[in-house]
C-alpha cells in the first residue's frame, strides 16, 4: 500500500445551508474549495470511566463509557470572492440574496434575536476525503456544523498570502463514515488581492494617502457548545444511548467583532487625536476581483480603543485597535459579497 500524503486531501462543504442541524447537505448542495492548512476536522469522542464510583473495592476504572462527540475544524485560505461570501453568510447568519448570474450579491448581517431572529446559526456539512472508495484512507462527513468565527488579514507585499481568511467551525458531533458524498468538481475561485483594497476608517482614506500597512478584521460567534447538549439532544447512533451524545442545537453566545490596523504615522496623522476625542465614524473595507466578484465589510460605528506609535521596517507607524460599536440604524457590521455562485446559504 502506498503512503497517503496530505496533498491528497479534498474537502467539500455545504454551499447551501442544511434544512436543520440533523439533515446533512446532499452532494449537489456542496462545493469543493481548496485550503492552505493541513489540519483535519477530526471527530473527537469524549469518554468517562467508573474510577470514582464506590462499590468496586478499589479506585481503578473497570468500564469506560462513550459520553459525547465534538467536531471542530479550521479553514485557512487565500481570500477569494466565493469563500468571502460563504464566510460572511454562514458566519454572520442573516442573508439577503439579490442579482442574477454572473453577479449574485449577498448582503449579510448578524442575527438579532431581540428583533425576532433565530439564535441558531445556519448549518452546513463538512466532508474530508483521501482516496474515497476501495482504497479509502479518510472519508467522513461532519453534519450540523456552524461557523465559529472568521478572520481576514490583509498585508503589504506582492503575493497571494497578503490576503487571507481563516474560518473556524464547530459541529454538532454527528458524523457519517463513509460520507456517501461524491466530491464535486473544484470551484474556480477569484482571488481578492491585497492590492485591490479600498479602505476608509473614521473619515480617513488610508489607501489614497498610501499609509495603510496591514489590517485584520474578525468576527467570533462564541458558540455555546455545552448548551447544545440538552435532555433529548440525541445520540451518534439514533436510539443507541451508548453511542455518545451529540448536540441538538448550536447557538451563538456573546459575539465579538474586531478591527485593527497598522498605518504609517506622519505629520497630520489623526489617530492619536481621534483616540483622545473618542471620535466615531464608519470603517469600510472593500476588496475586488472584478465587477462581479468583491467583498465589502462595513463596521457601522467605530472609535479607536488604542493607538500606539511604533515602527514597521524602519518606518514610523501607528497600530490602532478599533472598537466596533452598535449603530442604531445599521447595527454593528454588514457585509456585501458579490460572486458568480448562486445559492450560498440559501
Amino acid at each position: 500500500m502506498s503512503v497517503a500524503r496530505m496533498q491528497e486531501i479534498q474537502i467539500c462543504f455545504g454551499k447551501q445551508k442544511q434544512a436543520d442541524i440533523a439533515t446533512a447537505n446532499t452532494g449537489v448542495q456542496m462545493w469543493q474549495l481548496r485550503k492552505l492548512n493541513a489540519t483535519l476536522a477530526n471527530p473527537k469522542l469524549n469518554t468517562e470511566n467508573d474510577a470514582e464510583e464506590f462499590g468496586k473495592g478499589h479506585e481503578f476504572p473497570t468500564q469506560s463509557f462513550q459520553t459525547s462527540w465534538d467536531v471542530n475544524g479550521t479553514l485557512e485560505k487565500y481570500l477569494g470572492a466565493e469563500i468571502g461570501a460563504w464566510a460572511m453568510a454562514f458566519g454572520l447568519g442573516k442573508v439577503v440574496k439579490s442579482g442574477t448570474t454572473p453577479n449574485f450579491t449577498y448582503t449579510c448581517t448578524p442575527l438579532f434575536p431581540a428583533n425576532g431572529d433565530a439564535a441558531e446559526l445556519p448549518y452546513f456539512s463538512f466532508v474530508e476525503q483521501i482516496r474515497p472508495g476501495a482504497g479509502i484512507v479518510v472519508d467522513r462527513m461532519a453534519v450540523g456544523c456552524v461557523v465559529e468565527g472568521w478572520s481576514i488579514s490583509i498585508g503589504s507585499g506582492p503575493g497571494r498570502a497578503n490576503s487571507k481568511i481563516t474560518v473556524e467551525f464547530v459541529g454538532s458531533g454527528k458524523t457519517t463514515e463513509p460520507s456517501g458524498v461524491t466530491m464535486p468538481a473544484a470551484t474556480l475561485e477569484k482571488l481578492l488581492p491585497s492590492a485591490s483594497l479600498a479602505l476608509s476608517i473614521n473619515g480617513v482614506n488610508y489607501v489614497s494617502n498610501k499609509n495603510i500597512v496591514s489590517l485584520e478584521t474578525s468576527w467570533k460567534n462564541n458558540v455555546r457548545l455545552d448548551g447544545g447538549f440538552y435532555p433529548g439532544s440525541g445520540f451518534q447512533t439514533p436510539g443507541d444511548g451508548a453511542s455518545g451524545a451529540i448536540r441538538g442545537r448550536l447557538e451563538f453566545g456573546n459575539r465579538q467583532g474586531t478591527l485593527r490596523f497598522v498605518a504609517r504615522f506622519e505629520n497630520g496623522s489623526t489617530e492619536l487625536t481621534k483616540l483622545k476625542s473618542q471620535a466615531t465614524g464608519t470603517a469600510v473595507l472593500a476588496l475586488t476581483y472584478d465587477a462581479n466578484n468583491s467583498l465589502e465589510i462595513t463596521w457601522h460605528k467605530v472609535s479607536f480603543a488604542s493607538a500606539e506609535v511604533g515602527e514597521t521596517d524602519g518606518i514610523v507607524t501607528v497600530s490602532v485597535d478599533c472598537l466596533p460599536m452598535w449603530d442604531e440604524t445599521n447595527g454593528i457590521v454588514s457585509a456585501v459579497a458579490k460572486c458568480n455562485v448562486d445559492g450560498i446559504c440559501q
Binding site: 439577503v96 442579482g99 448582503t107 448581517t109 438579532f112 425576532g116 440604524t329
Partner: protein
C-alpha cells in the same frame, strides 16, 4: 431598472425593497427577512394583483 427584493417584517408586512445595502441593512437589523415569490400571495404583494375571475 433598479433591482428589488421582497422583505417581510417580524409583524408580517411585506415590502418590495430596492436591493441596495443602504435600504436592506437597516431592515435586516430590525428583524426583516427576505421572502421569495412563492412565500407571498399575489394580493399581498400588490393590491390589484391576482385574477379575480378565479374567485368566481
Amino acid at each position: 431598472m433598479t433591482e428589488t427584493v421582497l422583505m417581510r417584517s417580524p409583524e408580517g408586512e411585506v415590502q418590495e425593497v430596492e436591493a441596495t445595502p443602504a435600504k436592506i441593512v437597516p431592515l435586516m437589523v430590525r428583524g426583516w427577512r427576505q421572502v421569495t415569490d412563492e412565500e407571498v400571495t399575489p394580493d399581498v404583494r400588490r393590491a390589484d394583483a391576482g385574477n379575480p375571475d378565479l374567485l368566481r
